[in-house]
Symmetry: C2
Subunit: 151 residues, 2 copies
DNA sequence: TTAAGAACAGAAAAATATTCTACAAAATAA
DNA sequence: TTATTTTGTAGAATATTTTTCTGTTCTTAA
């Protein structure tokens, strides 16, 4: 990965719909050269996918909650069982296993508090092996980017 | 937004490179009908952007830290000053203003612990108005999606 | 019932992606 | 050093897709 690849990735992270023509003029390369570089980055798995981002407020998913979870026990079996169940929950967009005071951080997106309550009662708290949960509510989105700055 | 729009959005969230032809066959519509629906969703702002997702491990950004921050004071001026500074930090991909025990949750992506230390010392702790920070390290990624399930 | 607007399909046109060929620079081996 | 391979590139040709255009159907409201 040279400097040109990095510039290319920065541009593609912002907007995957940029045409190779646009990219070629910004990078001072031919269309083919840009095309080949992109294909190489895809083959190497550096580019993993192209996705569409929706405005969560316009699809009734603007109520965002971070839920910190502790498990009761931490045997390998119980952990993977818990994780399998979490992955299947539509409201949970992200789930990270973390070090520290609790075991997992979940990011949950729903319509409103009522829907969150419903989610907690009927889904989250019925998960196996949960010790405790602690919900933190988002009151503002300061930055929410999918683009890495490469250096 | 009808059921067809929702199906369309589910498909596009997964892979924005799907052609209108592919989509049209999955939705039992003509190419033009799909095209017009997508343009409408873009105009309405429901589709906000198309992005490229990179594999963070392959670009040396696989060390992920959640940092919980408390401010000293909470006047409007100090908050917006702090937020402006945070947004400008390349290592901070996400920053949410939250309710509860602390004021902000930051998601920080760097290469390794050494780079994180450097970031803490030279950038994060030099921010104005910070009361305290608490770092939680990601030890596993269970789920990390950008796709909402629509209902 | 009729008029207006929205959604749709198919064809045509325009733009883009992809492949192919060839060349030059850089890296590698003899 | 020279010969050889590899890599990156450019331009042209081709394939595919996007976008526009035209006309039709369907829905809705007057």
């Amino acid at each position: 990965m040279d400097l040109t690849d990095k510039k290319l990735l920065v541009l593609l992270q912002e907007d995957s719909k940029k045409t190779t023509k646009e990219l070629s003029s910004k990078l001072n390369l031919s269309v083919t050269a840009v095309y080949e570089r992109i294909k190489k980055l895809e083959r190497e798995g550096i580019i993993s996918k192209y996705v569409t981002i929706l405005d969560k407020n316009k699809i009734d998913k603007g109520f965002v909650v971070f839920c910190h979870i502790k498990l009761i026990k931490h045997s390998k079996d119980l952990i993977s069982e818990f994780e399998k169940e979490v992955v299947s929950l539509n409201e949970v967009l992200e789930c990270f296993h973390v070090s520290g005071d609790y075991d997992y951080i979940l990011k949950i997106c729903v319509k409103d508090m009522e829907e969150y309550r419903e989610f907690m009662v009927t889904k989250l708290t019925t998960l196996q092996h949960i010790g405790s949960t602690h919900s933190t509510f988002m009151i503002g989105e300061v930055k929410n980017s999918t683009s890495f700055v490469l250096n």
